[in-house]
Point group: C2
């Protein structure tokens, strides 16, 4: 079961993305809906909406994905909107595999910086360690952004050119 990458969303990805994102236990139903919607709107309107994807499949099933895109009105900054690996595949380094592939595609498209927002809550400590292990630094912290006591952290990586 070699992993394979795909970037074009297919109709089946709406449900598959929902399953992956929901499996992690990290996201609210509202957030799961947002994740689905990025796929839906791209199926409907194409890349013009600004969303890019890396889908990672093993044995024909989606095991993880990223959603990302150029930030409007910036020279070459990109946002990582989503990165998720199915809970059943945790501990296999697939997040790193996905992020490496995603950064390679951003770099190929001329991107020089990647930004990733996440929550400051203790539950997200593994996420913070993941970004730091992947060469990201914590560039900003907005206290009480998501809710009282729930800060937004912005991680940033400058891509090698």
């Amino acid at each position: 079961m070699n992993p394979s990458f795909r970037s074009e969303p297919a109709a089946k990805d709406v449900a598959a993305v929902r399953a992956v994102v929901a499996s992690t236990g990290f996201f609210s139903e509202e957030e799961v809906r947002i994740a689905e919607e990025l796929v839906e709107v791209t199926l409907e309107k194409g890349q013009a909406e600004g969303y890019h994807f890396v889908f990672l499949e093993m044995g024909g099933s989606l095991v993880g994905y990223t959603a990302f895109g150029p930030i409007p009105a910036t020279r070459s900054s990109w946002d990582l909107y989503w990165i998720a690996v199915h809970a059943s595949r945790r501990g296999q380094n697939l997040g790193r595999v996905l992020l490496d592939e995603t950064e390679a595609r951003i770099r190929a498209a001329g991107g020089t910086r990647v930004y990733a927002d996440t929550s400051g809550r203790a539950q997200y400590a593994p996420t913070h360690r993941f970004y730091e292990a992947c060469g990201y630094h914590r560039a900003a912290e907005l206290p009480d952004y998501y809710a009282p006591g729930d800060a937004k952290l912005t991680y940033c990586k400058k891509l090698e050119t």
Copy 2:
């Protein structure tokens, strides 16, 4: 010519917003297009898209406006996407008038925090002073976000409840 507020966008506002935003000399053509698009998409699809407006008119003409909305997946944080006053009306305190009205509407809708992003370039020093005079503090700075040497500053105000 008493100033009057309006929140429902009309077809004429697409061109009027373009004229106001372009007159300031602060925004690129890409940014002017984005400002127009928020009005267009709201005319087409209604408030479901998440954009709210305060249009300030004097003598039947648009002299300034704000665009703002609740930030998805946050409890009660709102983004101020746009605030602009026509260059011909500068120095009349209309930015403050617009921002006060906008904050009142955000508060009435249950919002507790307002975020406003702007550029760190020297050209924007009057914008920084404006936000600070209106009770905002600089909550984050992301160097080289818009372009090399062009940081993104995020201003924040906690609304009194």
